[in-house]
């Protein structure tokens, strides 16, 4: 089980319901992986510029750029894959098309392939990840040279509802392209995705709908033979009251007297409204905590490694990525770098 988050994994695919903080978590994973001095590529495929916003750097163009440094000389690189650019590049590399690329664009063939032809778009997007994963470091072009360009790759993948379809490139094109280069590309990609070097991680919150989607996604991923990695629970709130107090808060039986005395001792101007307001807040908090522990139980049933990240009442910014990376590392997230190689 823990093997899936160990350093044997080179490709980390991150999914989750919208609004769960998938991009922030993917960024933190990349940072944690780089903290051993490694070079890590963080890839996005939906053109949302989530990576540049998370790291507070200028929007990513089509190339790979260094976006952050990590401990021990590690580096995080960013890439926003664009299907059209990927197709033209792909045609150049595999077919040495030269000027035909431009002709294809004029005829609407590039649009067709990237927006209409089913599956082709996804093959292209993941194809870019596949290529980066296989690439050798500059100066090491030999096939037998084992120095990979990146020590690990983190893919900020589409949300849970679409991720299995996105990753099942082979199935998508199987009926259509029974032979030919798209098909063989899809085959190689599938081999990479279903191998032990890949892990799909799911980000969730302790709320019913995201947990339900997580449970559904894990079932679907397993059915598709895609290796499931860890579940990352984001925005976990520490209960601020002790168990017995939570129980009383839920029942509304907290005694007013001691609270009043406590508030006065803290030098506050105590009114009934203040006391009742605080107890009402405690009541809602207790309901939320109970609900969260129920959802946590459902996640435990998945029998996967769970990583918890705290809620930040101040909101998320570029520094959150580093905080989360440190927490992941503390909790056993692997790093990949010269030491791990």
């Amino acid at each position: 089980m823990a093997a899936r988050t160990s350093s044997g994994v080179r490709l980390h695919i991150v999914t989750g319901k919208g609004g769960t903080g998938k991009t922030t978590v993917a960024a933190a994973m990349a940072m944690a992986l780089a903290s051993g001095g490694g070079r890590v590529l963080l890839v996005e495929v939906e053109g949302r510029q989530g990576i540049s916003q998370t790291f507070d750097v200028p929007p990513l163009a089509t190339g790979e750029v260094r976006i952050a440094g990590a401990a021990g000389g590690g580096e995080v690189w960013g890439l926003s894959v664009d299907a059209k650019a990927a197709l033209i590049e792909y045609l150049q590399i595999f077919y040495k098309l030269g000027r035909a690329g431009g002709v294809l664009e004029r005829f609407g063939a590039v649009d067709f392939a990237t927006t209409i032809a089913p599956g082709v778009r996804d093959v292209l997007l993941i194809g870019k990840v596949y290529e980066a994963n296989r690439r050798r470091a500059a100066g090491h072009h030999s096939r037998h040279d084992s120095t990979a360009a990146y020590d690990a790759i983190v893919l900020d993948a589409p949300p849970t509802g679409r991720v299995v379809r996105f990753l099942s490139v082979n199935e998508e094109v199987a009926d259509l392209a029974k032979v030919g280069p798209i098909r063989s590309q899809a085959d190689s990609i599938t081999e990479m995705l279903t191998s032990a070097q890949t892990a799909v991680h799911v980000v969730t919150l302790l709320e019913e709908m995201p947990v339900q989607e997580t449970v559904d996604a894990v079932v679907e991923l397993r059915a598709a033979r895609l290796p499931v990695g860890a579940v990352v629970i984001n925005q976990v709130r520490e209960p601020l009251l002790r168990t017995r107090e939570l129980a009383s808060a839920a029942k509304g039986t907290i005694k007013r007297g001691p609270v009043r005395t406590g508030l006065e001792a803290a030098g506050l101007r105590v009114t009934d409204a203040l006391v009742e307001g605080l107890l009402a807040e405690a009541h809602d908090h207790a309901l939320r905590v109970a609900q969260e522990s129920e959802q946590l139980g459902r996640l435990h049933h998945l029998d996967l490694p769970l990583f918890q990240l705290p809620a930040n009442p101040e909101g998320v910014d570029a520094s959150t990525v580093r905080e989360f990376a440190d927490l992941l590392t503390e909790r056993g997230w692997p790093s990949s770098g010269p030491a791990a190689r």
Binding site: Q53, G108, D111, D175, L176, E281
Partner: protein
Amino acid sequence: MSTRATPRSPRLDIDALLADRHTDIVVCCGSGGVGKTTTAAALGLRAAEQGRKVVVLTIDPARRLAQSMGLTQLDNTPRPVHDIDTTAGGSLDAMMLDMKRTFDEVVVAHSTPEKAEQILANPFYQAVSSSFAGTQEYMAMEKLGQLHQEVRTNGGNGGPRWDLIVVDTPPSRSALDFLDAPKRLGSFLDGRFIRLISAPAKAGGRASLKVFNVGVGLVSSTVSRVLGGEMLRDVQTFVGALDTMFGGFRQRADQTYALLAQRSTAFLVVAAPEPDALREASFFIARLESERMPLTGLILNRVQQVQANGLNAARARAAAEDRADDGDHLTAGLLALHADLAGAADRHRRLARRFSVGHPSTPVADVPALAEDVHDVDGLRQVAEALAKG
């Protein structure tokens, strides 16, 4: 108790919108995870309990939501939602878009039986209808058009089955791509490329295309090299078979687009008070404005409220530390909790104000964060009440 997070924005009056009999379509759009589907269901419930005959069209297959409406599952057919108050004469139906089935129905309805069979069996059609990323948006338009036909024309006994359609859009950045569906389909069908691959000989022979003759050969050979000859043949058969129904497709897509642009449609952008969600909301608003679509307002969900008013976050934090030092866990806990809530509430208000300043004329309704997730019709009703108070 609650103060509006956006005091400078006009207030979005949900009840007035739903009560206005001229409103017959409400579209909810916004990024994923902001409570869009729940909002759509709550709006539908509120309208129904105020006497409208409502159908909610959802794209999101969230099982929880189906359950909250007392339905074991949602499918492509509108199902009545029970447990609602019908004393005002309204009704509530709900359905979930099944894009493949909707596409199949269109094919069957608009072609001869033999042709329909040929299309349905084509591998390229099967892939397009079940996995092409834009099919969902396009079929949402198609379904909306169909439902609206019933709103307008089904005037048999007791009037039309529905007089209001509430629809939530696909949960993606491209949620508004469904506005593009007619245009995209048009450019696909009118495109030289599709003509080229569907009938290479014909296209190559046309005088107007002569200039491109060199290109045509290059494109054809590249396409078959890259896609493989078999896929190309499937595409050709598919396009050939669909050719006759394409006109109808485009016409209806254009009609639905025109329908959405009318004043009887209301677009509501849904967001949560987080920078990402508000950035997406601004993007949607700009998009709707540039398409001249009737933007009615913003629904700002999950705005943190405090119940112990008058004690700010900093003061509560300091007092909590003071109590913790004295070993008074209970009071310290209550104050620390309040400090967190007040801090979040401040942050939400700041973000909401920033939005307000950027969009001074967009009406806003804010909905407080609820303590519990929505389980049932009562939960939806609570959301609806909060929406109406906005």
